[in-house]
């Protein structure tokens, strides 16, 4: 099934969407039609993956995220985007099983006009994010299949939640978002002593956000190292490895507990929300 627009039409649509302060209803409708075209292909690809014995969940990227990415990468990105249509598989298995799953998926789509592309984000992580993505091209349309181990998935889930709280830019290696503007408005008219106290509290809180993001990325490296040890079959003290896994489990749970008491940066603006 072909997409309802040519590549040049998609490029122009992307450029209009990124230029407009407020996308027009006409362009949003055109984007909807494009997404429906992707969804038809995705539905067929989902059946192929299910027939291999996997339990994927599929989704077409939401409009808000598409607009966010267009703003980041430029309008022409719309025609070359590889994850408009995607699915996710979470394996209750180790890295060897992940490799095998990737091989099976790539083989199942190897007869299409374009060869599947494998992006191994275990060896080339994206700011802590690790998984293997297989881009397949049924009908010439890209569909991204994310293959994650349970640990890679737990980490990605946690990091996504953290990004929602301290700024989505951390997913791209950017520092956490600031919210000083919101606090500053409340500080105006206060004594300079009180304003300085607020600033100190703010700086300390912000530093905690930075440390949380750094800890999360460090945790991803630990998960990667442990998964590699398991997959390699190298003789390492099993009890020591288990102890490290327990530490990873506790650290993930601790980060989540810490996050559950936090207010999202985008909702901050009262003095009481300065401490995270």
């Amino acid at each position: 099934m072909a997409l309802p627009f040519s590549k040049s039409q998609i490029t122009r649509l992307g450029e209009r969407l990124v230029k407009a302060d407020e996308p027009s209803d006409e362009d949003l409708t055109a984007l909807s039609q494009l997404l429906l075209g992707y969804d038809d292909t995705l539905a067929c690809a989902l059946e192929v993956v299910r027939s291999l014995g996997f339990d994927p969940t599929s989704r077409v990227k939401n409009t808000g995220t598409i607009l966010e990415k267009l703003a980041r990468h430029g309008g022409s990105w719309l025609k070359s985007i590889q994850d408009l249509a995607g699915m996710r598989i979470v394996l209750d298995a180790d890295r060897r099983a992940q490799d095998e799953a990737v091989r099976m998926i790539a083989e199942a789509f190897s007869t299409t006009e374009r060869e599947p592309k494998i992006i191994d984000r275990r060896s080339q992580p994206s700011h802590g994010y690790r998984a293997v993505h297989v881009i397949v091209y049924p009908d010439g349309i890209p569909v991204e299949i994310q293959v994650r181990t349970q640990w890679q998935h737990e980490w990605a889930d946690m990091f996504e939640k953290l990004a929602d709280l301290i700024g989505r830019g951390i997913r791209y290696g950017e520092p956490p978002a600031h919210w000083w503007d919101a606090v500053e408005r409340l500080v105006q008219g206060e004594t300079s002593e009180k304003a300085a106290t607020m600033r100190r509290l703010y700086d300390a809180s912000y530093r905690l956000h930075e440390l949380m993001a750094e800890s999360a990325v460090a945790l991803s490296h630990m998960i990667d190292a442990l998964e590699e040890v398991e997959a390699s079959g190298n003789h390492v003290d099993a009890a020591a490895v288990q102890e490290l896994w327990d530490g990873v489990r506790e650290s993930l749970a601790d980060l989540r507990e810490q996050m559950s008491g936090m207010t999202s940066v985008s909702r901050r603006g009262d003095l009481g929300s300065v401490s995270p």
């Binding site: 969940t57 939401n62 929602d164 507990e257």
Partner: protein, 76 residues
């Protein structure tokens, strides 16, 4: 297959709405309609997830359906 429309507030970490549809096209129609409602709310994510079962959805996209406390408890 189950098609679930999810409306999720990222900044509050809260599921605002969840609707199940038998047909993908119906789910998509609801998605586009809901996206219009939340057009001025950048923190609200509207997405349709398709899977064989709810258990599969929970496995791959738990962050929409479980609170941070529930996710933390799952790891304990």
């Amino acid at each position: 297959m189950t098609n679930v429309l999810v409306v999720y507030d990222r900044s509050a970490g809260r599921l605002l709405d969840e609707q199940e549809f038998e047909h993908r096209r119906d789910a998509f129609a609801a998605r586009f309609k809901t996206e219009k409602l939340y057009r001025d709310h950048a923190n609200v994510e509207v997405v349709v997830l398709t899977a064989q079962s709810r258990a599969d959805l929970l496995r791959t996209h738990a962050r929409y359906f479980l609170s941070l406390d529930e996710l933390a408890a799952r790891m304990a």
